[in-house]
Symmetry: C2
Subunit: 420 residues, 2 copies
């Protein structure tokens, strides 16, 4: 009953499949082979199997549900069986199927929780990453006999000036990023993975992201963050294969002891609360000066249009550079970071309000990089010290995860770690 194909029920789709920007990198379900039938965007599917995990260079979907898990399993076999079970379910759900192919006995709990039953696949991707604590516990103990394969790049992030991290929104042994154009599909995915993990892993923290704040493909329009600015303009785009290879994917030989990471990436997650009320009371001039781009179009303050390169040497009246040295774009631009770039894939969030009636909202920053130590860490260190934007931000959650490469057909996520 519950293993009925969700795809088979699409005629009743009602939860609101979201329309993305034009142009899809993903494949279409076989049911749409007929040339005269125009597929709805909700029908978009991405492959679970492949060279790299989906959900990284995949054009950023509209909605996110993200969770990290604490592994309670104690043996390597148990951990492996968790990853196998998760892979089976993730592969099915990305096809728009229920989480399990088990038939449900009437006197047993349903094999799928059901809330996505009538919804199309909605471009769901499920991306897994391993935290440093999966390899060694706080005391440095090798938990699963994997410690000698812990990547050198996978260390706890350093404390950055002005960090106000909430331990209940930080860390975790395994991170799971579920992105989809319908939030119910993303929530359903995490919930069913959590259910499958029963006895082996439990959710540590979870975050809903209601709107994407980046474009990761030239086919997508640039969305806006909660400061009202376009976000994702100068992001790495999937179409720039060379840039992706240089800055996103771990290369062979990057880390000889952790060769299993070849084709993988590192995911930095930062929950950044934005002081919206204070921001909203600053002038447009000040806001633009802080970002280094104009608000209407996202064009660099040095002139031109959205996608023109910022020119840091152009000066205005008084001889001051048009893009200030403490602006976000100045401090984040590759020219001022030894060429470092990152693939940003963040989401706007809101979790109600704080005791003072201020919205508890901000940017759930997600970025994929090849080498956190050269890309994210130095940039964040400098930003936390110098970026004029920091006055309006508070980093309240954090995590760093080693995202294994893609899964060979029929395999399971992270298998390279177990077999190498």
């Amino acid at each position: 009953m519950t293993n009925v194909s969700r795809r088979g029920m699409l005629g009743f789709a009602g939860g609101g499949a979201a329309l993305g920007a034009a142009g899809f990198a993903g494949g279409w379900g076989a049911s749409h082979a007929a040339a005269d039938e125009k597929p709805s965007p909700g029908e978009r599917t991405y492959d679970f199997f492949g060279e790299h995990q989906a959900g990284i260079v995949t054009p950023a979907q509209d909605r996110l549900y993200f969770a990290t898990f604490d592994v309670t399993a104690t043996t390597r076999d148990e951990l492996e069986s968790l990853l196998r079970a998760w892979s089976l379910a993730a592969e099915r759900m990305m096809r728009g199927e229920t989480a399990s192919d088990e038939a449900t006995a009437y006197d047993a709990p349903p094999a799928d929780t059901g809330e996505a039953e009538d919804l199309p696949p909605s471009g769901l991707t499920i991306t897994f990453g391993f935290g440093p604590t999966l390899f060694r516990d706080e005391k440095g103990k090798d938990r699963f006999g994997l410690a000698d394969k812990q990547p050198k790049e996978l260390r706890e992030l350093p404390h950055f000036p002005a960090d106000k991290l909430d331990p209940r929104r930080s860390g975790g042994d395994i991170a799971v990023q579920a992105c989809a154009d319908d939030p119910q599909v993303a929530v359903h995915a995490i919930r069913n993975l959590s259910r499958i993990a029963f006895g082996l892993a439990a959710i540590r923290w979870a975050q809903l992201g209601f709107g994407r704040t980046s474009s990761t493909s030239t086919s997508q329009a640039t969305p806006r963050n909660l400061f009202g600015f376009k976000d994702g303009t100068a992001n790495i785009k999937a179409e720039s294969r060379d840039v992706v290879d240089d800055h996103v994917w771990v290369g062979r030989g990057d880390d000889p002891k952790a060769d299993w990471m070849t084709g993988g990436s590192y995911l930095v997650a930062r929950r950044i609360t934005m002081h919206l009320e204070t921001w909203d009371r600053s002038s447009l001039r000040e806001q633009e000066a802080i970002i280094g781009r104009d608000r209407p179009e996202g064009a660099p303050l040095s002139g031109g249009k959205e996608f023109d390169e910022p020119k840091f040497d152009v000066k205005g009246r008084g001889g001051e550079p048009l893009i200030a040295k403490n602006s976000h774009v100045f401090l984040a631009h590759p020219k001022n970071n030894g060429g470092a770039q990152m693939l940003r894939r963040g989401y706007n969030f809101t979790d109600g309000n704080d005791a003072l009636g201020r919205l508890d909202a901000g940017l759930f920053f997600l970025a994929y990089v090849r080498r956190p130590s050269r890309q994210y860490i130095p940039m964040q260190m400098r930003m936390s010290r110098e970026d004029a934007l920091m006055e309006y931000l508070k980093h309240t959650g954090s995590g760093l995860f080693a995202v294994p490469p893609g899964v060979p057909k029929g395999g399971f996520v992270g298998q390279q770690l177990f077999t190498s």
Copy 2:
């Protein structure tokens, strides 16, 4: 700059306009008059002005952002000016415009926060309601000289057995329900209203709802709640005009002292946490018995299809009724409630997880009724005592609001209260 029409920028829409079910009750923007141009669902708009407020019988949009405000204004004039300013902004935003028509000086804060700048109207509705505390404070003091017009139906809800209300998610002087097919549009609306209220009112609590759990129109498919069941099947549908008139709209003469409520309604808001993990471990048989409908189709357990009437006298083997007397549908059905019906308009929510790794998720129950004392209160009292579903629920937030009638062209919301 910031008073640029959002509609004018639609070519760049990127945040993901959501596709609803087929059939719209709303109007289309004039820009779509051309017959050969097929409007995208994101273009849907609803009128702010009209006999009733929008957002009640409007086909339930996919996403919700809901907030209640504590009024800090101290005079009736200030309160009236807040409602005027809110009405101007709400009317604009529902048309897909920015919150304000003021031009932004470069050295002043932008008149709109900007994050919906490139997004289409997305079917936004903004619905206002007044809490009992707007009329009298805890000590019974008449706050704004309006106490003699407090409707008799607008009292604090009684304590229901098993209530575990969080005061930080309950009450409020004014409630604002923003529904849209794009959550960013709904969040933008509340944020800008909050900004406009600066010094006069502040957000008390806020709730994001990521997926609708009801259909309020026969044009919509029935969505599912987080227990995996179809929700909204037997809901009041906008097309049943007589039922709506009898059960939703306050009629002339209902409350002679509060005649200003004619054409309005009462909004019950309940944040209901659902124990998903426990539910997920119960058998399909048990789940269906608790609801009184089957899971795959939402058909009554007494037989037939989704939209067939439940038959409470049909018995199975052993002589037990097929729809149990402690099932949700039995206890909620009008036949067993003296004919009482309500217009449900709830949303699934998730706010991360609790300290034990369980998802903090559930149903943000919203219902519109003509007479809470005869429709909602007795039903909830009985459910809280007898409903088998209660074992899996915890009511964690609550509010009752008098939703004034619609706004005459050029007027402001609630004006009937001030002029009558």
